[in-house]
Symmetry: C2
Subunit: 345 residues, 2 copies
Amino acid sequence: MRVSAIGEFALIERIRSMLPRPHDALLGIGDDCAVLRPTAGRDLLLTTDLLVDGVDFTRQTTTPFRLGRKAMAVNLSDIAAMGGLPRAALVALAIPPEEEIEFIDELYRGLREEGAQFAVEVIGGDLSASATLTIGVTLVGEVEAGRAVTRSGAKPGERIWTTGRLGAAAAGLVALRAGCRLRDDQIETSFDVSISLREALTQTIERHLCPIPRIREGRALAQAGVASAMIDLSDGLASDLAHLCRESEVSAKIREDQIPIDQAASVVAQRFGQDPLAMALQGGEDFELLFTSSWDPADIAAMFPDGTTVTAVGKIGEAGLGCRLERQDGSSTVLTGGYDHFRRI
Amino acid sequence: MRVSAIGEFALIERIRSMLPRPHDALLGIGDDCAVLRPTAGRDLLLTTDLLVDGVDFTRQTTTPFRLGRKAMAVNLSDIAAMGGLPRAALVALAIPPEEEIEFIDELYRGLREEGAQFAVEVIGGDLSASATLTIGVTLVGEVEAGRAVTRSGAKPGERIWTTGRLGAAAAGLVALRAGCRLRDDQIETSFDVSISLREALTQTIERHLCPIPRIREGRALAQAGVASAMIDLSDGLASDLAHLCRESEVSAKIREDQIPIDQAASVVAQRFGQDPLAMALQGGEDFELLFTSSWDPADIAAMFPDGTTVTAVGKIGEAGLGCRLERQDGSSTVLTGGYDHFRRI
């Protein structure tokens, strides 16, 4: 059945019935506004992201369930990057009237399941028609008053750190563009693959389609007062480090041999003749956290006993020197590149 | 110059420089989240609306400045309908890369000026590319804890009230569809018009393109505890009254001879052979407030000495009787109609 067959208000009721009655909101879907009681002693974090069909995703390479998960995850990642706890989401959806209702059901199932991992519920939103499927998620989070970790607090001499390993999302995109597909968690390819390549393709595509927001890591870093500045890696390390440096009015130098390149990304890069370092530096959507700190490296490494990797990748310098990459041979180059919505189309 | 020529990050910087540094937020545009300190003793109100090119507006009949104003105003109206005070806005924009930058400048000027009337600033947002220009505004407001006026509080026996006069926005849309245009506040038509018709066309088109959110009226009603339930008239009185009755589990009867039809709407309706009552009942986007109250009518009328009209249009009844219109001849009919995003395309 199509969206146009049931109409706007029946669709709102359908969505409302699919979502759990919010435990955390005074008022959820079905009124002019949602109502939330803020936690005393905390500041509000507010973020919004639009995912546009054909630009931020293609329906050929994902499922509506995964798309819903990703739409929620990229906003969760913004809350993580401030060291905050997410609380509730609004979802605004512009849908072609000929869209199948099952697509909308699956999209909301994805939004709900991803949110539920972090106790976040959809408490409001809006529906409109559009020729271009567009998903707008707004997330409200909280952080201890005055403790939000911004992009602007980095100081010369501090180390630059990243959580996790980089390049997997970019490698997954390369694999998708080469025609590989995930169906029911099984990889489909038009070419023969070894067991190790199959695993690498699955892992990287999964990372591209369903990124993991680093909420726990961001909270730990903020609550311990470790991070002087923080940003999530959505556009790519090169680009996001440049944002952080501009806001902090500092420069940065990172070391090629310290970049924690994802193992599966390296396997995929090799198969498709691409440079894994470029995937790690210029590929976006890893949604790891990049942060700066004056803390002793051993103390930072000891913060995550449950296995989250953290790697010191370079150092902050005085303003005016830009962002540079120090090669293994001792030479250094200006760090460039990263995703720009209006230049890649 | 086009958006694609300057790229995403230069455009973000341009938007940031056009907007005043937020006086009310701890952190505005340029980080992963905006940061706002909630007011002690208040609940948060959260609302989001998407405006889609070709569905919620057409670029042929408005200017980017007016479009920006309307995108802000429709969200302000949702805050008004809860009896709240708006605080801050996020703006998510999906833009065709070939869009002129001046269009974006004017759009943000409209968002800023409409917001400024209610001390609301744009403190964050997102940019994406899209074939379909799409504007998503999220508004955060506040209301005294536990005092949000919902749709669900109406009780049998209470009177139904509306602020202002109805039908102007629908009449303006009829005029726009007949080819009338507002240019620099002057009306342009392809046919001869009298002075009174010229004024009526100008007023109704202005109301359609730039609705006036009833923030002050909503606040007054909430703070005095007058309104038991409230909704803003975005889809049309017939449809919005039905929403209110469904959430309150009541019925309603409104009287044809009590509907405050806008004078200019009547003039425009007559010129185009349309029914002004239908414009008032089924035409959406008047953004007046519909509320229910057990208060004495004289006390409610006395609340707005500055000239805002309030009119008792009917009464709430027991559940199960639906929403009915009582005709002047004593007969009554079921109230139907109103805007549906997926049925009118």
